[in-house]
Each structure stands twice: as structure tokens, then as C-alpha cells.
Amino acid sequence: MGRFDEAGERRYSAREAVLVVLLVAVLLALFEGPSILHAGERMTGLGGEIIRGVGRPAASASKRLELAEVAHDSTSFLTPNESLGSAGGGFSGSNRSASAAQLPAVTPDAFDPTKLGLPAPPKRSLHTLLVTGDSMSMPLDSDLAQQLVPRVHVDQDPHIGTGISDSQIVDWGKLSTSQVRNDHPDAVVVFIGANEGFPMAGPNGRQIECCSPEWAALYAERVRIIANTYRQNGDARVFWVTLPDQREAAREKIARVVNAAIEVGVQPWADQVRLLNAASIFTPNGYRDAMPIAGAETIVRESDGIHLNDAGSKLLASYVIADLKRDFTY
């Protein structure tokens, strides 16, 4: 006799088991319909289609009956995510930096002084370094912390699964504002781009699909908002790591556009927002899993063909440290 028989627990029927599971499914659809739809929108293939197929009517019913709101209000006190509701700097239309009718002004911040024949500005003290981004920023954040702590306070703040082009999970415009408000970092290292390619709302509210020039422009605009936040009017330096080549062609197409958009986005502040070209380090001639490090061929990418592995991350960290040492003392 099994342990469940001893306690007399096998007392219900299969019909009841199925009804319970269906009841749970219906209740979840009613209370979490929007979450289900959002999860489906981030999935590809048949699985994504099925979830979206369930999510659309569920989200509609949930919103109509206001049950999603009930669930959200009842549980909002449990969320570990920082409340970004009151944070400014989000990707709303009112935060656009310039309208199409105006020419953006060129300021001295757009120039690296050394390229104008001027001496480099004096080095600053590095007290707080913020390392942030999506999963691409891991374990770079730990590697940097290993090398800099305790001389520098390193705030590791990755937001896995998020993207600049997908504001439904995290609005990076608001998040960057919140990070700066909380940390006042002297320097920020940003490495993001593994979850991009989502449609973004254009000037007329129309959804712009990746990866057209229009999409690139919208992405660049968001990068500009974030970079401007992080640089804190020149009080901080930003080190934005662009994506190395990706193994999958579909991802590489998105990564290429993302990198181009980042380059454009940070143009107004070449002195304060530096790009670290990971492609030139890891994939100068196209995608590769391994590269020579100290004379030994070393695997530097994870098996997913997207992320850097531990060895790759340590190498990248050495480049970041070299860049930090140009601008900072610690």
C-alpha cells in the first residue's frame, strides 16, 4: 500500500482532478489574462501562437470584468520590482527630445577633446559604478565587482529578459531614471540587446516593426534618452557595450540594427558616453565561438550563440577596466 493509500488520500476521481485543473486554468485566465497575453507575445512558434490564442480572449475578459485590476491591486505590495510609476524619463511621447520640425543643436559634449587636439580632461574619482543591462551584462557585472570592490562600490543591476524595444516588462527610460536617482553613479556600464526586435510605437502611435530605418530611429531615440539620463549632465561617464555578432542569422540581423542605432543614439555626447565595440573584440570577422586569449584558443561564447561565457566576460571586463582607468582613479 503506498503512502497516499495509507492516509486514505486517493479518495477523489479523475473527473474531479480534471475539473480542478480546468477551474484553476479559468481563474488564472480571468485574473491574469493580460500577463498570459504578454507572455505569449514574447514567445515564438506554435507554443507562442497557442498562448496568444488563449491570452487574447482572456485579456479581453479580464479587463472587461476588471479582474486583472483586482489581482494587481491585491498583490502589488508583493512585487519585488522597483516602482517606476512616478519616475520620469519614460518612453512616452511627451519625453521626445526633439520634434521633427527642429534641428537638434550641436554642443561641445559631442566632441572628444583629444580629437580636437586638446588635453584629456583630468581623471575623476570613481566611487560608484553601476553595471546594468539585460542578461548580457552578466557575469560582466560580477567580474567588474571582483576587480574593483572594495575600492569602488559596484552596483550590479541586471534585468534579465528585458529590452529597450519592449517596454511592457520594464521601461528602460524610467528604470534608468530610477537607477540614477538611487545610486548617483560616477560611471555606468551598459550591456543590453539580447531581447530586442519588438515593435515600437512610432510618432503617430503606429507600431513600427523591426528592423527598418524607422525602427532603428525609434531605438536610437530611446538609447539617447537612457544615455542622457545616465550621463547626469556630464557628472558621470557612460560605457555602452555594443553587441558582438550573434550565431543565428535572425538575431544577427537585429543586433546589427541595434548597434547602428546605439551609435547614432549616443552621438550628442562622445565625450561622456563611450562605446565599447564588443564585435571588434570577439567577432572581428564574423561569428566565432572561440578566440585566442594569451596564446591559447579559448571558447568565449555560451552554447546559445548569444552570450559571452565566463572567459569571454572576463576578457570584456579587462577592456572595460582599461576604459575606466582612462577617465577615473580609484
Binding site: 503506498g2 503512502r3 497516499f4 492516509a7 486514505g8 488520500e9 486517493r10 479518495r11 477523489y12 476521481s13 479523475a14 474531479e16 482532478a17 480534471v18 475539473l19 480542478v20 485543473v21 480546468l22 477551474l23 484553476v24 486554468a25 481563474l27 488564472l28 485574473f31 491574469e32 500577463s35 498570459i36 507572455a39 505569449g40 507554443g47 497557442i50 498562448i51 488563449v54 489581482a71 491585491s74 498583490t75 502589488s76 508583493l78 512585487t79 519585488p80 520590482n81 557575469p139 557585472d141 565587482a145 570592490v149 572594495p150 559596484v154 534585468h159 534579465i160 529578459g161 528585458t162 520594464v170 565561438d289 591559447a296 584558443e297 579559448t298 571558447i299 561564447r301 552554447s303 546559445d304
Partner: protein
């Protein structure tokens, strides 16, 4: 596909009714559940399905051949080849990189450095578990404890999705008899199943992930950034996290199987209540420890050939048990720590009298120390972590919520088991409709505690 995900919820909502609909017709049910299990496994990567199919085919063929063989030495030979192939598969996926790197390092040190072939292999999820299940099946057939199963039954056994990716390691002797006749649709442990799923969800999503995010991951990533109290908090927090993460997964697996009419063996029995390491291993990952006992420790000779050989067998078993978890010196050291601990217990043989609370305290802290080795990314990180215990610094991570979590996880295991089990039975006997509403509420509230980063993978998925 992980259990606490929308994809799995949709999958199970479809599979469960179909499973019961087809249950009375095994000729339809078995292919159906096999396909469903492969869909579940293939959600991670379709290429992994070929590995699972290959392991299944190879081991089933071996079982059939053993069943037909007349001579004992032929049977032994088939088992040896099959186990070698199973372990070879495990070795290639899990250990090639580690041994290649260690060999390269040694060769470099003696001036014989040469580039070794670099192989980038993704570790198939669950390979450690289903290869061990396959080995147990073949060996049990050889020992005469089991007749070779039919091909479809063996396929269902090895691919059954509730236990496929992270156990429990179900023996063929426990599962195949349940396939012999269709599960009784009038006697299903619905209450226990729902209760275990809810409990597992809370353990994993609410407690384990919270401790990982707020305490364990930050401290183990950069221990030098934290003082002694925070390091100690992280050690206790990981002790709680790994229990909640792994037993939470097991609870869900057992609960899902119960809803489908199947009973899995228990995998955890209040392990932090143990008053000795032998006791601990009768409570922690029970299906792995019995596998190691039956297929490694006893075949090595167990305790039948004198003290020294017993100690040798204990050490080998535990070191290999550590290595099973992953290709790293920290896992090997963790296993060795437990091996040495078991040897010391055996050697003392009850000669040292200690009050029960002291035995518990010592055992618990040996286990905690072992988890520091287990969690650290490298040996040097272990050194840095341990050095923090003598560093000053304030307690920045020991918040009230962290303290409550630790006390709840560890403290509840110290409560007498009788009342806890009685409470569990009482809840399991609640009307299913109320349990369903309760589970939905638990899912909504547990989901609210998930950060924007989503639910991290289960720790034991890495093994």
C-alpha cells in the same frame, strides 16, 4: 519548459484531461503520453529528444538481450557495456570540458602544453537523471528483480514528463507495475496532488527565488563586498534556498504525477532535522542516495569487507555523488566532505556521547559548510567567502523578511513530523473545488513575487 510557467500550465491543462480520457485504452494512452513527454522535453531543444530516444533504445535493447541471455557472464557483459555507454554519454556532455581543461593545465605545467580540441556542447536538461534511471532499469533486470518491459512501457518510463528533467529518480520497479494496468480513475489523490503543487510553488517561487535574488547571488558573486554577518546570512540563505528550490520542484513533480494517477517515491523528509550525516542522506535527495547505495556503494562491497574498505567505499561513493552534480572541484570537495563525515561517524560508532541538540547543531553546520562549497563558483571563491567570516561589517542583508524565511524553512523541519503530516492530510481531504480556488490564489500571489527577470531555472536543472 519549467513547471511554474504559463507554457507548462497550458500544456498540463491540455494533457491531463486527454490522459484520463485515454487511460482506459493503454494502446492509445501510452503513445499519447510518450508524445506529450517528448513535446515537453523538446520545448528546451528538439535535438535533446534524439538523445533521450537513443538512451531509451539502447537501454531497452540491453534489457531485452539480458532477458534472453542464459549465461551469467553474458548478462554481466551486456550490463557493463550498457552502463559504460550511459556513463560515456554523461561524461561527454558533462565532463569533457572539465577534464580537457584540467589535462591541458597539467600538460602546460610540465611543459607539454598542446591545444586540445575545443568542443562546445550544450548540456541536455535532465541527462543526469534519465541516464541514472536507465542504468537502474538495466541493472535491476540483470539482478532478476524485474522482467524486461515492453518497448512502449520502457519508453513511457524513461520519458514520463513529471520526473524527466530533475527527478525524483524513479526506479523501474516502482513505475512499470503502475503501467501494467490503467490507473484507477475513481481513486486519485487530487487533494494531495494540488497541495503538493501549491507547496512546491511557494517554496520555489516565493522563498527560494527571493533568497537567491536578495542574499545568495549577490554575496556569492562578490563575497569581498560583504562582511561576516552577511556572509553567514548568505550561507544559511543558500541552505534554505537549495532545499526549497529542489524539494519545491520535487513536490510539484510528485503532485502532477498524482493528478495523473501515478505515485512517485518521496525525495525529501525534513533533511535539516538530521542528527548525523547518515541520517541526513536518508532524508535529502533520497532517490539519489538510494541509487548510489544500490548501484555503487553495495557493488563496491559496502561494509562487508572490514573497516578500511568500508571507508574507501563511502569516500568513493560520496565523491562520485559530488561529481554527478557537475564538473567542478567544488562539487568533488563537497562530496568528499560528506564522505569524510560519514567515515568519521562510522569510525566513532556511537562512542562519543552527545546530547541530541548538539548532534543536530554539528550536523546542520557541517551541511551548511558543504553548501558553501557546493554554491561557490570556484575553489578560490570558497577561500574568499570563508575569509569574510572573520571580517567585520554590518548586517546589510539580514532583513526581517530574510530572517522569517530562514526561520520558517529550517524551523518548520524541526517541528514533530506527526502533526505536520496530519495537517497535510487534513488539507488534502478538503473538497477539490476549494483546493482549486486555493491553488489559483497561490499562483496569483506567488506570481506577484516574481521579479521582472522572471522565474530563474531550478538549481537541479543544471545537473
Amino acid at each position: 519548459m519549467i513547471f511554474p510557467s504559463i507554457q507548462f500550465a497550458a500544456f498540463f491543462t491540455l494533457v491531463l484531461p486527454l490522459s484520463w480520457l485515454l487511460m482506459s485504452r493503454p494502446a492509445l494512452w501510452k503513445p499519447f503520453i510518450t508524445v506529450a513527454s517528448y513535446v515537453f522535453y523538446g520545448a528546451a531543444s528538439w535535438s535533446f529528444c534524439f538523445l533521450l530516444a537513443g538512451i531509451t533504445a539502447g537501454n531497452q535493447l540491453a534489457a531485452v538481450l539480458i532477458g534472453r541471455a542464459q549465461q551469467e557472464r553474458v548478462k554481466r557483459g551486456i550490463v557493463a557495456i550498457t552502463v559504460a555507454l550511459d556513463l560515456g554519454v554523461l561524461g561527454v556532455f558533462k565532463y569533457y570540458g572539465f577534464f580537457a581543461q584540467q589535462t591541458a593545465d597539467v600538460l602546460q605545467k610540465v611543459g607539454l602544453g598542446m591545444p586540445l580540441p575545443l568542443v562546445q556542447l550544450a548540456l541536455p536538461v535532465g541527462v543526469s537523471f534519465f541516464t541514472f534511471q536507465a542504468i537502474s532499469y538495466v541493472v535491476d533486470v540483470k539482478r532478476g528483480l524485474l522482467e524486461p518491459a515492453r518497448w512502449l512501457d520502457a519508453t513511457v518510463y524513461l520519458s514520463f514528463f513529471p520526473h524527466l528533467v530533475a527527478g525524483p529518480i524513479v526506479r523501474a520497479r516502482e513505475f512499470l507495475p503502475q503501467l501494467a494496468t490503467p490507473r484507477d480513475p475513481e481513486h486519485v489523490a487530487v487533494g494531495a496532488g494540488i497541495e503538493l503543487i501549491a507547496l512546491g510553488l511557494v517554496k520555489k517561487v516565493v522563498i527560494a527565488d527571493f533568497l537567491a535574488r536578495t542574499v545568495v547571488d549577490p554575496v556569492f558573486a562578490v563575497p569581498q563586498a560583504y562582511g561576516g554577518v552577511d556572509a553567514l546570512t548568505a550561507a544559511y540563505a543558500y541552505t534554505a534556498q537549495i532545499y526549497c528550490d529542489f524539494s519545491g520542484y520535487t513536490d510539484m513533480a510528485i503532485g502532477l504525477a498524482l493528478l495523473m494517477g501515478f505515485v512517485f517515491p518521496q525525495n525529501f523528509r525534513s533533511p535539516y532535522r538530521a542528527t548525523g550525516l547518515r541520517d541526513f542522506w536518508r532524508r535529502w535527495h533520497m532517490t539519489l542516495s538510494r541509487f548510489l547505495r544500490d548501484f555503487l556503494y553495495i557493488p563496491l562491497g559496502g561494509n562487508r569487507h572490514g573497516r578500511l574498505l568500508t571507508y574507501r567505499n563511502l569516500l568513493i561513493t560520496m565523491v562520485l555523488g559530488g561529481l554527478w552534480h557537475g564538473a567542478a572541484w567544488t562539487f568533488i570537495l563537497w562530496g568528499a566532505l560528506h564522505g569524510v563525515g560519514l567515515i568519521v561517524e562510522h569510525a566513532l560508532g556511537g562512542r562519543v556521547r552527545m546530547p541530541g541538540w548538539l548532534r543536530w547543531l554539528v550536523t546542520f553546520h557541517v551541511v551548511v559548510f558543504g553548501w558553501i562549497l557546493f554554491r561557490s563558483p570556484s575553489l578560490s571563491a570558497v577561500g574568499i567567502f570563508l575569509s569574510r567570516f572573520i571580517a567585520g561589517g554590518s548586517a546589510t542583508l539580514l532583513t526581517p523578511l530574510v530572517l522569517i524565511s530562514l526561520l520558517a524553512v529550517i524551523g518548520l523541519q524541526l517541528i514533530p513530523i506527526g502533526p505536520v503530516e496530519a495537517l497535510q492530510v487534513a488539507i488534502a481531504r478538503t473538497r477539490p473545488i476549494l483546493l482549486g480556488v486555493g491553488l489559483a490564489v497561490v499562483i496569483v500571489f506567488a506570481g506577484a513575487t516574481v521579479s521582472s527577470q522572471g522565474v530563474p531555472p531550478f538549481i537541479y536543472f543544471r545537473f
